[in-house]
């Protein structure tokens, strides 16, 4: 194949862009394929989301328990983790450390568990706003910004207290 010609300008134009490591989206879907929560860190048109989500879920549902928790999907990777009937799927770029994302998902679930004291799918469904607030504390712009459980929950508990009081 023709190797890239050593060209000054294009190299400058596209620096770093290809190597950007990031989380593209976080999805919470149940086994029936119903989206419980979705958060995109890269703009995806609303009209394309439903199809993408259905596709992603299909990808993960067809996999067996003993198979790898990482799947190749288009030009990026999916990292998924199953909790009973609920799947949490994270779309990441190829350069991301899949295992660390896999554990991040669990950290997220543990935070939810701590907040809702024994989290269930119902908690997530009926407290969509709170789950989003928790997720916002953990991931911003596709990067992990906080993993310390008590710090993740601090703003939300403060809000709850004020709302009660």
């Amino acid at each position: 194949m023709v190797s890239g010609v050593n060209s000054v300008v294009p190299v400058l134009c596209f620096r770093a862009a290809a190597d950007q490591r990031m989380i593209k989206f976080v999805l919470m879907v149940n086994r029936q394929g119903q989206t419980r929560l979705s958060r995109y860190y890269q703009p995806v048109e609303l009209s394309r989301r439903a199809a993408l989500e259905a596709d992603v879920v299909r990808c993960c549902l067809t996999r067996k328990k003993d198979q790898c928790s990482f799947v190749e999907y288009k030009d990026f990777k999916l990292v998924y983790r199953q909790y009973a009937a609920l799947y949490i799927v994270v779309g990441v770029t190829d350069t991301e450390n899949e295992l660390s994302i896999y554990e991040l998902v669990h950290n997220f679930v543990e935070v939810l568990d701590k907040y809702f004291s024994r989290v269930s799918e119902l908690d997530i469904m009926f407290n969509l706003d709170r789950v989003h607030i928790i997720l916002d504390e953990m991931i911003q712009n596709g990067h992990i910004v906080e993993t310390n459980k008590s710090r993740i929950l601090a703003p939300l508990t403060a809000l709850d207290k004020m709302a009660d009081g």
């Binding site: 023709v2 799918e121 706003d129």
Partner: protein, 1140 residues
Amino acid sequence: MSDVVEKTLTALPSLLSLDSQPGSAKLSSTSKLGNLIRGITELTSKHEEEKLIQRELASIKEQVSSPNTSMRQMKELMVRAIYCESLGYEASFSYIHAIKLAQQGTVLEKRVGYLAVSLFLNESHELLLLLVNTVLKDLQSTNLIEVCMALTVVSQMFPKDMIPAILPLVEEKLNHPKEIIRRKAVLALYKFYLIAPNQVQHIHNKFRKALCDKDPGVMTASLHIYLQMIQENPEGYKDLTASFVTILKQVVGGKLPMDFNYHSVPAPWLQIQLLRILSLLGKNDQSTSEIMYEVLDESLRRAEMNHNITYAILYECVKCIYTIHPKSDLLEKAAKCIGNFVLSPKINLKYLGLKALTYVVQQDPKLALQHQMTIIECLDHPDLIIKRETLELLFRITNAQNVTVIVEKMLEFLHSNTDDYTTIDLVGKVAELAEKYAPGNEWFIETMNTVFSVGGDMMQPDIPNSFLKLLSEGFDTVEEDRKLRLFAVDSYVSLLQGEPGKLPQRFLQVISWVLGEYSHLREELEPATVMRLLAKLLDMKQTSSETKSWVLLAMTKLVRAGQVFQSAQEVSETYGSSMDTVLRQRAQELQHLSQDCELRARVLPQDAGLEPLEVDSSLSFLDGFVSEALAAGAAPYKPPHQRQEELAQAKALSLEPYGLSLPISMSSCSIADRQSPTLLSMSSGLSGDSTDLSHKGSSTTLKLDGVKRVWGREGYLAQREAVEEAAQVEVPSPLRSPSQQAEADSSHSQTPTPTPTPEPDQEKQQLASSLFFGLSSQSSVCLMGKSEPTPQRFRRKAKGQASSSGAAEQISNSLVSAPSAVDNFLCNNLLDSNITSQVGISSSEQTSELSQGPATTNGTCDTEAESTDGDIKGSNPSLIIGDNGLVAADPTPHKDPGSPKDFCLSSHLPAELSELCRSEITPLCSNQSLGLSACHVHKEDSLVLVVFITNSSDAAIRQILLDLDSEQLQVSCVSDSPVEDVTSHSVAMHQFSLTVKRPSVHVEVVGMVSYQLPVGTPQEVQFSYKLPLTSFIRPLTVSTEEYGTMWLSFSHDTKQNLTLISDGEEPLTATLNVLKEKLQLHIVEIIGMEGIIACQLLRDQPCLMHCRVHADVLAVWLRSPVPDLPDCLIYHCQRALQEH
């Protein structure tokens, strides 16, 4: 995972069926959201869901706009709207209410308002501007929770242009006593850095403070900024290495508070982040790497606990160790670590191990040897992703010895694969390996056959392109080339004799081209046979019309043999009336060329594939045509910038380098753009309607560009089924014969290889030996393709490489430059060109000079004493060369030989100016009482025009008023109190500072002097002074990086080919130096065949120039934010080179 979570989640279905959820305060299943969700969950069809959601949205819409809705209810409504949107139903009516909620709500309501905004709007949504005030207010709030929310939303999304409005407030928060506020402020600044790095340039030292913050959370947040900055410029942050190392040491050593632990591992994600930063800093830098060896060692040691997260850290650690400057004992430990990964029974770890190995083998291919048996096992793993990752690994260790086995494995995978993306990716890799390492013609052609039939119409278009290019350009020996082509012909003929209906269109196109071009090489092959096979393709109904064009073209080439005249006629008759215009044109060409042997021989010369076609870029052969067209009333040519301006209104800035930025209006250009094999025919000499037929022979560059264009992306997913079918029946896969394998095996046995698995079976052993052949220790250094021990088979000729690299640009350049050449020609024809014989003077200049004539001689009376200062001491002659010829008129006629005195005008120049370089002093006009002369002086940051008023009368001249005006220039008077009176026989001097308002090739100042003689009425004299744009050009010193950013932000550009200067030294450098000297440009950098240059037009109007050598011309691309500047500058570059 905690068992509790598992249990609760398992119990969920039964919970769902309950109508209400007693006991839990947070569950609001009786709420409207609860009803909605339950409703949706119970639905069975998509259609019902849609109906339900539409009803829900209607109800939300009604309520949000009602004035009685409280903020509490509004919050509830927003959550429902969020839910609807997350199911894919737009609720755009609620966006504005989300903003309102953020504005007016309290605590949780406000937070939900912000949340809804961040979910609903994208970063460029205009409604976001309405949020700015709310954010501003909340940032100033005394309620920390509100400040917190505002900072959160800012770090998620904020309009770029409004950053200055809140930046001071955010900066202030960096000193806030609460860690959470400081942390969020840092994250907000990180966001600013991402979207507008220039805005936060000044607070870099505050980032450092954040890095040293006593709170680990704030420090962690600052690492995001550092990772980003270090990625962009690792050199700038080497001094921080020790700090990062210390932080990592403390984290690893468990110095952080307990709540940072995750499953008793201290802050794992922080460790990963730090390791990434360290690997960036230590890359290719021994001394920096040395600082981190110790901590890396410790990280490896500490991460012994058997938990996923420790493996995630280890993976990052291994990557870091293999990225930085190597240290042997660390490498050893890291290698052992990878071993643990790959051998792990846990599949996720195995995957990560393979990924690590893939990364590592690029540095050390020997490592693959250690794990060869595991790799073999992974190749047959039931999980596709493991297989896929293994192939990725094999791809990295491919060499000339193991290529056949690896490619075979890849093709095997391809045959069973159903995912398009994987197919496209793998097909590209196979093609790359085949081209690089093919062991023989047969293998190469057969592998490519599989690639084409499997990759079908999905694969990257450059695969068939570069294949055809390879075939046509040939390699080192003529005989080998012939053999390869022959083999291709044979292979394709037999394919067509089989079931061509199952082949993808792209493959058929390749086949047609090859048969058309090379089937004559096989002498025993009757052209009639080939013709018949091709005709069969035309008759198949699944053949696309694009492919048919290719077939027709191939036929056109075949008719030279003569015997097939009859069938050619039949075909051309059938398609001569096709509705497809391209097809019809092909058919017409076929018809005409099959009848006219002489013409065909000129148009499609046999075996002329390698001689480059000489392109007459001036299109001089069009001269007659153009003048006729003009005479018939055709619209005259528009210069590029004018067209571009028109275009700019319609089209946004094109970021694509080398994209054609100009609309192409010339008929000759549209030929090149057609979606058909036209260019193939053009390449062989048939250049559409108007190209001079005397330029025969064909050009590889043109031809291959043509090929590229022909394969558009439009056929991307079409023909999918056909491809799959084809994949099964098609082409025998290039299996290795057992004897070959045995051969490889025996040769391998010489190299001792440690095999970790105790009892590998015979078959796997064999596979291993063939896979890892060539990875043995003695040749390990040169395995990674950097320097192959065996020469690459299909190494192209140097000529081919040079020409191919610039193919696309050459085309576009000639397209752009051609019209301007025509322009010159047109003007030369229309105006009488013998006015001046000056070389290189442009027509536009001529016209203006003509019109300028009367103005210059506006001085009323006879000339008296007027002299020019001949000496140009202290000035740089090269700067003036261009100027002299252009200033008004030739000074000599004005000079009165009988003049009594010659004032040495230059002595009147002020001291600060006389040292600088300047133009000659030129007389402007004169009469019996006074004379005017002028010169311009180049100052570093400005251009000064000096006008001398000489009183040649015996009386004093009073009330002199000098007024300058210019369309293109901004003129400002330098001296505060201009001289109004000039005594007898003396000189007064006026200085004006000039800057360019609107660039033009030459700029002109028109002036008027009014004065009062002792007797009589006030008098007036008019004059004009012309100077080239180059006087305003100054070098612009920028770095290559700055150049890169600037380049992207400039919207006006132009491209042209210039002639290279080749007197002795390296032509590019020589040419650029001439430009530098004559035009005052700054050469930023010269890399290989390219150079980048920067200059500025006074004041501060940059213009960038990118030059690249193609054959014997210099392709120049100029960009600037100023319209017209690139065009003007290119003109001066041309002149400067001509005059050289």
